[in-house]
Subunit: 272 residues, 2 copies
């Protein structure tokens, strides 16, 4: 049901004020697209969540429990965006994780908002807020998201759909809530996610599926200069799919988006 | 009352699962020591919180409202640790701060635990978890604390009281929940907090009060090598005061702690 919220499997709209998710951002999340009543790439989402639990030493709930929560909030729905938060649960004051952890899982369903029809591609900006470097947290979709919050607060022009975020040393890493792919020299390049950024689910899908469509891919170091002479640029996101980029302010403009179209058709479903 | 919890001024033990403090760590906190029924350095705590609100563009609640919450949870108590969390409040899914923000304030009181008597100084370790660099967040006591959580999870030896955290490029920045001061060459040095770390309240007190005691201070770049030949090392924290360091594993050992003693006596109250 749109707007439904389960906390540890039970209808609830609140969590303990002692929850470490609130106290320290001590947890992980996944934002997933449901189509035809089931979640796309659910196994990949669970795989990333599981890796996050291992790296943060958060006990993993049984996957079936999480799947059950998701089915519950999706009941009777064809499409929806399911957000799952997993925290280290409540605990006493202090950063040290408690010896006994009872994780908190929060699952909610919100409406899928289709992007405006007829859009020829996104306009992006380069965010001034940069991503801090931390290899231990890189790749994970954890709850420490102040950098993304600050980046999104930088603009309010509705024409600008997303912002690209750079590392402290100026590498292009990802958008605030999407990954970036760039076609250059006959290959599809996407930034390496080694010291910051999120390893997006749709990024993983493109990297593993593109070769079977005859498209070479490469995980690479990308700088702003590398974007300017790209043949094509697109963003990937689990909930918004593959979206061609028409313009990056101050960098360049693109039309066409042939690779994005091919990948969307093949890796669909159409989400617009 | 120990254990009391106020959410927006009302007795409550829970917050909305939609709160951005939980969703993104989008907020700030202060942990304050009350002695004789009133909070030490309350103005400094409010000053840091206020600076955090300005830098994160979170509307500031009236200081009197926060003071009132603190008085409420402290009623009838002589000593206690008051923790105040301020978040950007509930909001719809998405990193972008909502246009209309209704902040959430959570104020709790926990017991002050005096350190074990007769302790000759703390033993510290050097944490493997390093602090990510982000000048926009440096100094603030914000809710994105996964780095500190990971650092504290590195050891469980009860003899080790704290862990020192380094920046990505190996500078000594602070302990997981305290700042560090080092006496070298007749001066008291503490690391600059410019791209990571928290600008602690007691650090500020020492920096402003030490000169009147004839102690020169300097905010400096410190590396591990600079610790080894220090004459004295101590930690500062708003709730634990000034604590001499007896040993940093792999770096050095110290006895005496004359400066720490002088500063404790002058800047008290005695918290042990």
């Amino acid at each position: 049901m749109i707007g439904q919220r389960l906390v540890n499997g039970v209808d609830s709209s609140s969590v303990s004020a002692e929850d470490r998710g609130l106290q320290y951002g001590d947890g992980l999340f996944e934002t997933m697209l449901a189509v035809g009543g089931s979640i796309r790439h659910f196994d990949r989402h669970m795989q990333r969540l599981s890796e996050g639990c291992v790296r943060l030493c958060i006990p993993q709930p049984a996957p079936e429990l999480l799947a059950q929560d998701c089915r519950k909030v999706l009941e009777g729905l064809d499409r929806g965006v399911v957000k799952l938060i997993l925290t280290r649960g409540p605990g006493p004051r202090g950063y040290r994780p408690p010896a006994e952890v009872i994780v908190t899982r929060i699952v909610t369903c919100s409406a899928f908002k289709a992007p405006p029809a007829g859009s020829d591609g996104l306009t992006l900006r380069i965010c001034e807020t940069r991503l801090g470097s931390n290899p231990q947290l890189a790749g994970l979709k954890h709850l420490n998201r102040l950098e993304q919050v600050l980046a999104c607060a930088e603009w309010d022009d509705p024409e600008v759909a997303e912002g690209l975020m750079l590392s402290q040393d100026g590498r292009v890493v990802c958008a605030t809530a999407a990954n970036i792919f760039v076609a250059r020299g006959g290959r599809l390049l996407t930034p390496e996610i080694v010291d910051c950024g999120v390893a997006g689910i749709m990024r993983g899908v493109v990297l593993s599926e593109a070769p079977s469509l005859g498209i070479d891919t490469c995980v690479a170091t990308l700088r702003l200069d590398d974007l300017g002479d790209a043949q094509e640029v697109f963003l990937t996101s689990a909930t918004r799919g593959i979206r061609p980029v028409a313009k990056i302010e101050g960098i360049g403009e693109w039309t066409g988006g042939a690779l994005a179209r091919v990948l969307r058709e093949r890796l669909g479903p159409q989400v617009s």
